[in-house]
Amino acid sequence: MIRFENVSKKYISGKNEVVAVDNVNLEIGKGEIFGIIGFSGAGKSTLVRHINLLEHPTEGNIYFDNVNLTNAGEKELRKYRQRIGMIFQQFNLLAQRNVVGNIAYPLEIAGIKKKDRLKRVDELLQLVGLEDKKKAYPSQLSGGQKQRVAIARALATNPDVLLCDEATSALDPITTRSILSLLKEINEKLGVTIVIITHEMKVVEQICDKVAVMSGGVIEETGTVKEVFLKPKSLTARRLILPDDNINIHLNENEMFSEKGGDVNGKGNDRTA
């Protein structure tokens, strides 16, 4: 359904060139829940933003249902983006619109009549279990509720694909679990293909069918979750998945640094996650 063919993305800032995505070939099948894991800065977000062409590749091609979208025009892209929902770590809801207004937004820009919009919003509210929060504003919702609104909004136009960039990283474990089971339900009930970026192995274990391991812009390995988790081949996968041996040494180092109040918290979290 989604196919990357030799996709590279380079950013040039001054004299430095950053290769955020390095010659990636990837295929995501219809109806799959596809996980992308890797340490911070690996290029996961950049890669996923290529799927809805929020980023344009420096080299290579991106196919959606065998249509090459790399050089699609603005208008064509907008139509195409309505077939791909996206949710984010920070939810990105419209703060000045209430729940109904947020979920109706994609329908509004798709030119759907108000009456039909409201009907669709009701269906979506039921799907995500927020019927009683119709009139609430984002500032009045918990993180989990905000993400449910974001999911409803992303699904409003009946997309074929849902992209999730660290969608549960700002949530506690119990809320994470409930959001993940909602995603699973959406995948099973509606047949929506889901792409999940995460640094939490639990997320992958809980709902993904397949997983790609990324590091330095390169996809180091892909396979079913079982394959990769039981027999991780790449160093990155082993460091992400296996909690023992030499990895523990790094962990302890980081803990020591953390006590001194250094800036290693991020790193520490990545390793322990």
Binding site: N52, Y80, F88, A95, Q96, Y105, R153
Partner: protein, 219 residues
């Protein structure tokens, strides 16, 4: 005498309000599109355009760096062409608008910059056109900040309008100068200044109250 004074002050308040509000309105009609242009053509904007951004910014900076009193005098010929006279409240509106529009443009730009870039990104990902992003996302999301900006703009324009009293402008500023400064009537000057302070205070308070009521982030 007393009655005449009250009449005079009442007139002054009316004229000041008229000049300030009309100038603010026209300054916003010009300033909002300019502010939007500055914002969207920025390097990080949704319609990045270096040339337009540079020239719009340069013209705005140029006008803003001219002291208001100099602008007031320099614009006299233009005012005569547009209004037909250079004296009175109507004539003051021309330099007020010219001085305020670039200021408003910058205020609008900075309000729009406060909008979370993640929200703009989400709108893009949903397939919004650029115009939809501006009219349905950026401006509505910036509304509280835009309104706070407007109360600041009104106060500033009110101050400018008082200054215009020096060169034949109308309103409370003219009264303060004609009676207080030229004829040494300190009491009249103090009363007009008190009125100016009161008006600024009123706009500021009412503006902030209104913003607090409509801003959905504060609950």
């Amino acid at each position: 005498m007393e009655k005449a004074m009250i009449e005079l002050l009442k007139n002054g308040v009316d004229e000041t309000l008229y000049m300030t509000l009309v100038s603010t309105l026209i300054a916003y009609v010009i300033g909002v599109p300019l502010g939007v242009i500055l914002f969207v053509t920025d390097i990080k904007g949704i319609c990045k355009n270096r040339i337009i951004n540079f020239f719009t910014g340069a013209i705005i900076n140029l006008i803003r760096s001219v002291p208001f009193l100099i602008l007031l005098v320099a614009l006299l010929p233009l005012t005569r062409i547009i209004v037909g006279t250079t004296i009175g409240a109507d004539a003051t509106i021309v330099p007020l608008v010219v001085a305020a529009a670039p200021f408003v443009a910058r205020m609008v730009e900075s309000s729009l910059k406060e909008v979370d870039s993640g929200v703009i990104e989400a709108a893009k990902a949903m397939g919004s056109s650029k115009l939809q992003i501006i009219t349905k996302v950026i401006i509505p999301e910036a509304k509280p900040s835009l309104l706070i900006g407007a109360t600041i703009a009104i106060s500033t324009i009110l101050g400018y309008s008082a200054m215009a009293g020096f060169v034949g402008g109308g309103g409370l500023g003219a009264i303060a100068i004609n009676y207080g400064y030229y004829r040494y009537k300190t009491d009249v000057m103090l009363i007009t200044v008190a009125f100016l302070v009161l008006i600024v205070q009123l706009f500021q308070e009412a503006g902030l109250k209104f913003v607090n009521r409509i801003d959905k982030r504060l609950r």
